[in-house]
Symmetry: C2
Subunit: 184 residues, 2 copies
């Protein structure tokens, strides 16, 4: 299957986090049409391991975050937007520090996902972090409401199975590390 | 942690698939601020099993779809937007039919994810489908470019591990069904 191409673009919303473009597009069949596209700078997210990830039922550090979009506090892994041309790994380390007050010895890239490619180019780079050390308090922005909570990996997987963890990047990253352990 | 509340809302973009609102919000700490929010009707997605999901290395039906946001053809599971007040299960069955030409005997709800709750209220209801029968050809919209491809579940998991499958809902749903099989 061939791909399409952009013919022209028109910015219809210029926001704080996102922009919205309407692009005139040539589709793979040669026809033309319009597509609306939410432009996002991309983000990193990280599964912080509090104990040996290869050990029996390791602990991970989740956050409980108030999300206006969900109208409630939900469980997530630490995450945040790339700052300008910040490398994804630096972003993961920075967000871990800001949201949990912890630094890490090692970061390993798991995968990079498109969160919802039907309408946005947002990609989230997923990492796991090991060798955590508390270096201070969380440093949150004025509109961030976050508390850390240590959870065993098996409890976290149950929380995915019973619908208590519903954040897409968090489901992906936790199942990814669990799948690796299970030899997928 | 308490939650926040909407004080007022202003629609700044009225689109074909999405709308964008700027909401005046009272945050959990009592302070006020503005948040931009992409409003989306929600969607369903389905892992179609071509053989017994409890059997050895079952086959699933993936689709290869051209996505303008990713600038290439990517692997996904069949999915699409809720049509008005359509129930999520009916949407999953309809999208399976439209994108693959297959009907199914049974649909089982896996979980429902928020794709990226930092800036959108979009939720995707994830299902698995069994008892597939081909009932016709795929019926695609003018801007949908989709081909079906049977893949074994173990191959699909390798494609997640090596970054060949990068769509968030697809990673979630495939790892979810694999996790169930592995006894997570």
């Amino acid at each position: 299957m061939s791909t399409g191409a952009k013919i022209s673009t028109r910015r219809v919303y210029n926001g704080r986090v996102i922009n919205v473009d309407i692009d005139q597009v040539r589709f793979p069949n040669g026809k033309e049409g319009e597509l609306e596209m939410v432009r996002h700078p991309g983000a990193s997210a990280v599964v912080p391991f509090l104990s040996d990830p290869a050990g029996e039922n390791p602990q991970v550090l989740l956050i409980r975050q108030y999300r206006y979009a969900t109208e409630r506090v939900i469980y997530e892994i630490p995450a945040g937007k790339l700052d300008g041309d910040e490398p994804p790994e630096a972003c993961a380390r920075r967000e871990l520090r800001e949201e949990t007050g912890c630094d890490c010895e090692e970061l390993e890239h798991l995968t990079t996902i498109y969160t919802t490619p039907g309408f946005t180019d947002e990609r989230i780079h997923l990492f796991m972090a090991t060798g955590l050390t508390r270096i201070g308090e969380a440093e949150l922005e004025h509109d961030e409401f976050v508390e850390s909570e240590p959870v065993s990996l098996s409890d976290a997987l149950h929380m995915i199975a019973n619908g208590k963890i519903v954040d897409g990047k968090t489901v992906c990253a936790l199942l990814f590390v669990a799948g690796f352990r299970a030899g997928f």
